[in-house]
Chain length 396, copies 2
């Protein structure tokens, strides 16, 4: 008997590299002890939420037994949170965002699937620079969408704007960017966004169904050396941003995020209502209310960027000492170094032999490199130095 | 410019009747004041969560700033909750359910969409007795599934087993039942489940892809007059149950539910792993961790059924006094009375004129009746008596 659908069976066989490394990691930790493994495979922030989270949740506890306090809320989010979030995004995006431009979602992932469901028709294409977060393909694929990655430019992985323009077809519905970027740590310049906006303008002049610019921004809060993360909503009427509180407040497990449309978008209200509806019919119904209230109480706060910066510098030191080539990340908490011998899967295996977990670039549609997530204690980074050196010295 | 997909545009135009009544209700409440409206349109429980919720959430607040406490959890749920939930379901379903048979989901809705994504291929059919919860159609429709309602038998809305058997085709992939039922309050007998199981056995004897029996059970805890809600997992190897803590613990906004496969299912592990994967790729990622911990702390507790029973009796009294025909609900918190003159939409309009909100049966694929949700204060029910009487007296 075939209990699951054919397409799903195929996807399970192709299980993501992040997951494969996660499972190998579990095995290794059982074997040698968790303290002896340097795990750079997962983007699960180890920093605690801001200290005020404790008081905020205590206050929610005092009210939890009031009638309807824990009941359904509007699909687009608690009205008071939607309002505050709009104000927060208006300042951040330098655009007159109002509550009606925002849907509170179940994390950034829920924002992506709800948006794709609302706008994609079967055969529509979603373009994104590679390397990219591998789940993008599944997110649009549920609804007949097709992901079209366009390789970014080494060494620092800025998007290749000419190649993107050349690859746009009549079916391209969304250009999906992610800055600060997972897995490269690259931050897109204001000029890059402007050129993408100009592309949209040219394309949309002759379109019935617009081409959107969708910016996935869970790492906006995390930029180094004074790097600017420019706003997106003000560059094009067909721009949208989405994000979450998973990384900025270390609330990944509670699943709270958002999507916001440019206030200049014609029919922005129709699109936002559609996303609220698909969010309902996909089964999210509403973002979890405890998480919404917690994120509202902590809105604008963030974990300490200086701690991540210290880790970034330590990781760079480890890689330099091992003679591994890399572009210094300007944002997020990832390195995407070049794999010695251009063999990312082989090198990740070598690292594994030294109790170091990394993810091959193949898992992000970009072989020849590998990803290191440095959202771990600095001591783990420092402890990994001899392993990196030894792995890099071995001939392939 | 057409900003949203054609199919979604159509769905928005067809906005559900529950939502329409909700919006009319808001309007009415603004006009005459919320206290003057008797709102029976929404299944949003007004009973507070059990008193222990307060202490349980306080304990979570004390720990919220520990590293990784709020981080991602495995897609299938917190291992300790999965384990406890399996024990709970084993006792309830009289089957040897283990953690590996269970996925913790974002509410019952998330269980349904993740399951449909895992098993449906385009053109597959999901059969359910009518009237039914209207979102079922959208849930399977996202993935090319087609809902095939089969009218239940008046006056008490037991499923029509002969009609179901006659309607099964090669493409029928799931028989979806909901007991205690929304919107009828009907509870399915053990004999009914047994006959459905026999149907599965006959059909599956010659199948490559099995026919499943999927039981949607958010109201299992709510049965009256000693009515038995028989277990489902033990009747067929291809049975699954799903449920949530939205009604039993009044935690609807926090989105925690589950799905469990019969331990006797061949490849149960494959199916459960597939549901955990689709739950991830649909963007749920994991059920919210605060909700999971809260539901775990309160597992087995429930709101006071006697309160609902008192309301049920009061509502029956109101309907009887108005001369409106109905089957006494044996479970859940809904009445599904006959609309005078068989005109459900007309009668709901009449009720509206008396500041009473109800939902026409048309919204549940079953015209001629209307739904009343009695999860409201008993005084609201009593206050509605003159309105029902007056509306029923008016000739259509």
């Amino acid at each position: 008997m075939r209990v699951i659908a054919g397409e799903i069976q195929k996807q399970m066989a192709d299980a993501s590299w992040i997951r494969k490394m996660f499972e190998k990691g579990l095995e290794l930790k059982r074997e040698v002890g968790a303290d002896n493994v340097c795990d750079f495979s997962l983007g699960n922030p180890d920093m605690p939420p801001p200290p005020r989270a404790r008081g905020a949740l205590s206050e929610l506890a005092a009210r939890v037994c009031e009638p309807l306090e824990m009941g359904y809320c509007p699909n687009a989010g608690l009205p008071v949170f939607r309002e505050k979030l709009a104000g927060f995004l208006a300042a951040q995006q330098q655009a007159p965002v109002r509550a009606g431009h925002v849907v509170v979602t179940c994390g950034a992932a829920g924002a992506l699937t709800s948006f794709f469901r609302a706008v994609l028709e079967p055969g529509d294409e979603v373009m994104c620079p590679a390397p990219y977060f591998v789940e993008y393909g599944a997110y649009c694929g549920h609804f007949g969408g097709v992901l079209r990655p366009v390789p970014a430019l080494p060494p620092d992985f800025q998007p290749d704007l000419d190649a993107i323009e050349a690859a746009v077809t009549d079916r391209t519905r969304v250009i999906l960017i992610n800055s600060p970027n997972n897995p490269t740590g690259c931050v897109y310049a204001r000029e890059t966004l402007k050129r993408l906006a100009e592309l949209l303008e040219r394309v949309n002049a002759s379109r019935q169904r617009p081409l959107f610019l969708l910016s996935d921004e869970p790492y906006r809060f995390l930029a180094y050396d004074g790097a600017e993360v420019p706003p997106v909503l003000d560059v094009s009427p067909y721009a949208l941003v989405l994000g979450s509180f998973s990384k900025s407040l270390s609330l990944a497990g509670e699943r709270v995020g958002y999507i916001a449309a440019s206030p200049a978008m014609p029919d922005a209200d129709l699109l936002i209502n559609a996303v609220a509806m698909t969010s309902r019919t996909l089964g999210f119904v509403n973002a979890p209310v405890l998480g919404q209230r917690l994120a509202m109480a902590l809105l604008g706060e963030g974990v300490d960027v200086a701690v991540y910066d210290g880790r970034r510098r330590a990781m760079a030191e480890v890689l330099r000492a091992a003679g591994i080539e890399f572009a210094m990340p300007r944002g997020a908490f990832y390195f995407f170094p070049k794999a010695p011998g251009d063999d990312d899967r082989g090198f990740v295996q070598k690292l594994l032999a030294h109790n170091i977990l990394a993810v091959p670039g193949t898992g992000f549609g970009y072989p020849g490199h590998f990803r290191l997530a440095f959202c771990v204690d600095k001591r783990v980074i420092e402890r990994s130095a001899p392993g990196f050196k030894a792995a890099a010295r071995e001939r392939l």
